[in-house]
Amino acid sequence: DARVTQTPRHKVTEMGQEVTMRCQPILGHNTVFWYRQTMMQGLELLAYFRNRAPLDDSGMPKDRFSAEMPDATLATLKIQPSEPRDSAVYFCASGTGHMNTEAFFGQGTRLTVV
């Protein structure tokens, strides 16, 4: 059963620490999305990759966030330094890139910055 895998599922860290979240997209998918979900803002797009190249990262605070795809089987989202306002659930999703196809979501990483 193909699925998007995110690690870790939960992360508690102190303010100022570096946080790295990982995502394994579904094999064969060439499009990866990173979303952040909070009660106040709902689902926000942070970054969007196609064929490992970033297409849109306008939603990501550039001073502390970075997203990469070192290879086709791994996407990473890094926060350095982390702040309490970064506390949220971070979702990775993958897809085939065609307009008429849905994206498949991982279970999310729940980040708490204290």
């Binding site: 969007y48 890139g97 307009m99 994206a103 999310g108």
Partner: protein, 116 residues
């Protein structure tokens, strides 16, 4: 620019009754419309989509939605609600002129509670 509105934060319905979760959208080109569901502590799960063809779209778990080109609602419906349908529902739109995908824009979500 594309946008999605879900005018109701919360919808309550009795088990066995029909349910409707509302969504309206705005796009400048051809719309690609999606519904997702999120159960507690889980990721979003795809329910159904409209891309082209038949205006009535049927999806998972008995859900359906109707596309009408002259209007912008894309409401999610089910003839008979189950308690297990209680979850957070998201409408999403995707717009683009090429065949190779643009971002999904999600609505704020509607929490559905089905009461036994």
């Amino acid at each position: 620019a594309q946008s999605v509105a879900q005018p109701e934060d919360q919808v309550n319905v009795a088990e066995g009754n029909p349910l409707t979760v509302k969504c309206t959208y705005s796009v400048s080109g051809n719309p690609y419309l999606f519904w997702y569901v999120q159960y507690p502590n889980r990721g979003l799960q795809f329910l159904l989509k409209y891309i082209t063809g038949d205006n009535l779209v049927k999806g998972s778990y008995g859900f359906e939605a109707e596309f009408n080109k002259s209007q912008t609602p894309f409401h999610l419906k089910k003839p008979s609600a189950l308690v297990s349908d209680s979850a957070l529902y998201f409408c999403a739109v995707r717009e683009g002129s090429d065949n190779y995908g643009q971002n999904f824009v999600f609505g704020p979500g509607t929490r559905l509670s089905v009461l036994p």
